[in-house]
């Protein structure tokens, strides 16, 4: 971990992680419940507006700082980290693509003042996880619009204040001509259409919902969703998710190191055989961390360049690298957690042991599925057919 001076935001995240999110994470996982106490603490520390520019009342931090917070939270409570990450992805879309429009400017000020939590509504029944296609459409008549979306999953939908929804721009638009619509609490109703009883990431509480909404047309972002996706939503998603997974992997390795040390202590003078396995895992974690940090630095540098990195972020080469991070990170977290289980043996397999790996393993297995790695491989495969430079 970076030993240089840590920012107040990161320090706050460390304190919330160890004092609030960590102690509750077992119950959050067991009961598949929203990590309310951790989110309340994040709001109290004003971390939900970390990425909102200072002139609108936020902390004006960059992507790397958000990423670091995700990693720290992920070490203590995977659900808290993932909810924080998903919220920040939405905030980043608003900040980077709409902060000059009066409606969104006011909204961001309100978000900073009230610490509103935004959930994402991209997936849709009949479409699945393909974020770049929608069935539902915005129906507008002059100044107002109506929107109904059968969402196959909305993470923390029942706990969010506001929603950011993808939909076709109008009823005649093709599936990929999408707009992003901001809905505030009074604008919508959510009808829960199922349960969220999963192997891991249980505290994100992501069941299907039927969304019904109406609002003013100023709530529809002007920038085409395709541009928002490639320039902001996808890079932020891959970087912040990967940092959550890095946190999970780190937690698994920290436990495993403690386990191996306890073995060494029982028999000083002989290095336990598990220490060699630990050395392998420590090396994997270091590569994982280097990969994540490298792309986060590159991304932040691009985004803070004069043209906000629009040209580079939209290239095939960059999309490929982002997808590669997703593939590598999602595989690394599951692989590391499983190796840690092998090292800790029965003490890792037990749910009531301080070396328990169950939750890390179950949470880590979600990584390859949230945006299926198969879909990403297929996309990368077709991009590689046309990409010439390397």
């Amino acid at each position: 971990m970076n030993t240089s001076a840590i920012s107040p935001l990161v320090a706050a995240a460390q304190s919330i992680g160890s004092k609030v999110a960590g102690p509750a994470s077992g119950a959050v996982d067991r009961e598949s419940r929203f990590p309310k106490e951790a989110l309340d603490a994040l709001k109290e520390a004003r971390l939900l507006s970390a990425f909102v520019p200072r002139d609108l009342g936020g902390a004006g931090c960059g992507m790397r700082e958000l990423a670091q917070i995700c990693e720290i939270l992920g070490q203590h409570c995977s659900a808290t980290a993932m909810v924080f990450a998903m919220h920040q992805i939405q905030v980043a879309c608003l900040v980077r693509h709409s902060q000059t429009a009066p409606y969104f400017r006011e909204y961001l000020k309100k978000l900073a003042a009230n610490q509103n939590l935004i959930a994402s509504v991209t997936s849709e029944v009949g479409i699945g996880g393909d974020m770049r296609s929608s069935k539902c459409a915005v129906q507008s008549n002059g100044a107002r619009f109506e929107l109904e979306k059968d969402a196959s999953t909305i993470s923390y939908g029942a706990h969010a204040d506001d929603l950011l929804v993808t939909a076709r721009r109008n009823p005649e638009a093709p599936a990929n001509d999408q707009a992003l619509v901001l809905l505030q609490k009074a604008d919508f109703t959510l009808e829960c259409r199922g349960a969220w009883d999963t192997l891991g990431m249980r505290g994100t509480c992501s069941p299907p919902f039927l969304l019904r909404a109406s609002g003013g047309v100023e709530q529809i972002m002007e920038t085409p969703f395709g541009d928002i996706a490639s320039q902001t939503m996808v890079p932020f998603s891959h970087i912040l998710w990967a940092n959550c997974w890095l946190g999970i992997a780190t937690a698994a390795v920290v436990k495993t190191r403690a386990f191996v040390r306890s073995q060494a202590r029982a028999k000083p003078g002989t290095t336990p055989p598990s220490a060699m396995r630990l050395a392998e895992v420590a090396s994997m974690l270091q590569s994982f961390r280097a990969n994540v940090h490298d792309l986060a630095s590159e991304c932040e540098a691009l985004m803070s360049s004069p043209d906000a990195g629009v040209d580079v972020l939209s290239t095939i080469a960059f999309a490929l690298r982002m997808n590669n991070l997703k593939l590598a990170g999602s595989q690394a977290v599951a692989d590391i957690a499983q190796r840690c289980l092998m090292i800790c043996g029965i003490m890792g397999y037990k749910n009531d042991s301080k070396y328990s790996m169950g939750q890390h393993l179950r949470d880590g297995l979600s990584a390859a599925l949230m945006v299926s790695n198969d879909r990403i491989c297929a996309t990368n495969g077709s991009m590689l057919l046309v990409l010439k430079d390397d």
Binding site: R261, A264, R265, A266, P268, G269
Partner: protein, 79 residues
């Protein structure tokens, strides 16, 4: 505590000098403590006293003498 430290040094320190003849201020490195042996001494101390030496204490000075070891252990057990 001093007695426990002496026993651990005797068992894991691989000193060239008999531990019982060393004063509490005697330089353990001069008495033959190698860095490899000091790792085992640390592991045994951790096991015996149920503590963990943090990274900041993993330095030569901490294992220099029986007294310096005792000072470190007192700091760790007081916490």
């Amino acid at each position: 505590m001093i007695e426990d430290i002496r026993n651990i040094l005797k068992e894991h320190g691989r000193l060239s000098t008999d531990v019982s003849t060393l004063s509490e201020d005697a330089d353990l490195y001069k008495a033959g403590l190698t860095s490899h042996a000091s790792v085992n001494v640390m592991l045994a101390l951790e096991g015996k006293f149920d503590v963990e030496f943090p990274d900041r204490m993993l330095k030569r000075g901490v294992f220099e003498s029986i007294n310096s070891i005792r000072a470190a252990l007192e700091e760790l057990t007081a916490a």
